[in-house]
Subunit: 373 residues, 2 copies
């Protein structure tokens, strides 16, 4: 697989430029069925690799996460992550993180949605579920990083934390490494038990083992836990293979980290997006001088860092807006090609922009409330 | 009219909590027809007044506008304005401002859309056109300010700039003052000519006159022009009534102002939202000590500023997120009550949140692309 920008591009102006394309679960299912899940993951991986390698701040403007934190009725956050492709479009992902949602409301802990706006008009071009795209791109990011930092013959994948993210970590890594077995561990027995079923489509040997065995035998290790703030680390870092590469996926809040400081200090630690990683990633444990090249630098000069594949390396994955942009662009291009999505007119595009009431057609008949029928 | 919070409230949890309500032009038309345009404007005015008077930063978190500015392919901005009602919902308005859109794309200069998210889940509850709500709330804000700063017997309204905003300025002010005539001026003859038709539903005498006559005869003056950055002021401020109240609506960019500095200096200048007004409103011309009470302070202590009604007063209206929240809440409550809006499921709410591919139902059948039909 090479880092090539897919030929397919998002369409520009056209008859659909006044409509908003809505992509929910049902539409995403149609797209995956038409493209194939493996091909879609491969495309996200290669497109992300391309975008990272060719990243130019004059063409792509990134913002780090911002949001509202609150304590009532329970602690939670609502965050947004804007990114702009100059002259083309901007993507804003909204993420709600609410640990009480499952128990109290029967909803997932995290809900998210992606909106894409045409930069040159402000038009809301698409609204898309965020859960599946986020899982895809988080897996893809680890695949990109692992290809740069792990040994090419890595065969044993270790997973600490067997939730949703672990599924796409295994999927993405299986696309770029000759994985033979997956060793998994989770403090929740049910999550550990059900994992093999959830990744059955990969056809890999999945073995639930004690944490120490995951650490000892893994060539590549992914940590994706919901460890509480201040309760980390989740791995010991004691008996490990000399060439271990870790994708540290779980840390996403100040104070939430998964790896021991001494382990980070003897590793080459590569953040996805430094301004975010020093606030909420493993990098928050480190001094600036202890942090290695970012994913941008790695993709631009892979040879420079090749020798590190034989030592301990860490990809500090906090998840950032460029990844969201890439995955939404890939999905939306397929949606447009396949004609998938509900097209609705959201914005008013009145014939006379000087008349904000023009869309009422006969304003006079709208002055008073219509009689109840 | 008193500042009472409407009885109708947005619904909380329920069966619709997994759906996203889409409100476009057609749905807004249905809502206006059912509620009546006058009643809707009255409700936005009174709700905004209530929210301003009872504003508590512990309950409502405001953010000033942020965004992407760009120069290619032509200068423009894409901005967002988040606001959160703690424990309830957050509203984010996205606004695209692109002066070339009408000529090059046949689209309005400004496109905008409003999104409302449940804070405690992150759920995208509604997406709504932004044009009509923005026009309504900008008119309503001037009505609130003018009731506090203009003489109650104001009969002559002057409008400088006869675009879309002028329509809702006239409408909103006609709801709270015994207006007899409206004197209008615009440097574009067509805009001036067509204005009477656009506000015919108000049944007011509309007279197109030279700028000096607008200034001389108005009791209340609204400036809502698209004067270029650095090209202001647009009014002279020379021969005016001693009790003139001005709603300065047009300034919305650094360097874009409509009123002469010496006029501002002899007026009580009241910004809507100070952090924004000092950047992009008339207040950018003033030193901190020259700026009067904000709209929040005015609504809380109206008696304290009553004497200023006999002198020159200016409402520096930049338009801010609290206004957007109010108007969307009012519209959405009607939409829910009336059952108006297209309800779509956007977010994935899979039965097993640990399985990001669960929504594919049979993952195995989705691995490869479906054969083209």
């Amino acid at each position: 697989m090479n880092a090539v920008r897919p030929v397919m591009q998002l369409k520009g102006a056209g008859s659909a430029m006044r409509m908003t394309r809505i992509l929910g679960e049902q539409e995403l299912r149609q797209i995956v069925r038409a493209t194939g899940l493996h091909a879609l993951m491969d495309e996200v991986i290669s497109t992300l690799e391309y975008e990272l390698e060719h990243f130019d701040p004059a063409n792509t403007e990134l913002r780090k996460r911002e949001g509202f934190q609150y304590q009532h009725p329970h602690p939670g956050v609502l965050e947004w992550m804007p990114v702009m492709q100059v002259g083309r479009h901007a993507v804003i992902k909204l993420v709600g993180y609410n640990p009480r949602s499952p128990e109290e409301l029967g909803l997932p802990t995290i809900l998210s949605s992606l909106s894409l706006y045409d930069v040159t008009t402000g038009h809301l071009r698409a609204v898309c579920d965020g859960t599946f795209p986020t899982a895809l791109r988080t897996g893809a990011a680890s695949a990109v990083a692992s290809r740069l930092l792990a040994r090419e013959d890595s065969r044993v994948l270790g997973l600490v934390g067997c939730g949703a993210q672990a599924v796409t970590q295994a999927h993405a890594l299986s696309r770029v490494f000759p994985l033979g077995r997956v060793l998994v561990h989770d403090i929740a027995p049910e999550a550990m038990r059900s994992f093999a079923r959830r990744v059955a489509f990969l056809g890999l040997e999945v073995v639930a083992v004690p944490l120490t065995r995951v650490e000892q035998e893994a060539d590549i290790l992914c940590t994706a836990t919901s460890v509480a703030v201040g309760a980390g680390p989740v791995v010991s870092g004691r008996l490990i293979k000399a060439h271990l590469h870790i994708n540290a996926v779980g840390s996403d809040l100040p104070g939430k980290t998964e790896l021991p400081l001494e382990m980070l200090r003897r590793a080459l630690v590569c953040p996805d997006y430094l301004p975010q990683a020093v606030v909420e990633g493993e990098c928050q444990q480190l001094e600036p001088g202890e942090i290695g090249p970012s994913l941008f630098e790695l993709t631009r000069s892979p040879e420079q860092w090749r020798s590190h594949r034989d030592g301990l390396t860490v990809f500090d994955s906090t998840g950032f807006s460029l990844e969201d942009k890439v995955v939404l662009e890939v999905i939306l291009a397929h949606a447009e090609r396949l004609g998938v999505g509900r097209l609705l007119q959201v914005e008013s595009m009145a014939e006379d922009p000087k008349d904000p009431y023009g869309f009422l057609q006969e304003t006079a008949t709208c002055l008073k409330a219509a009689p109840a029928v």
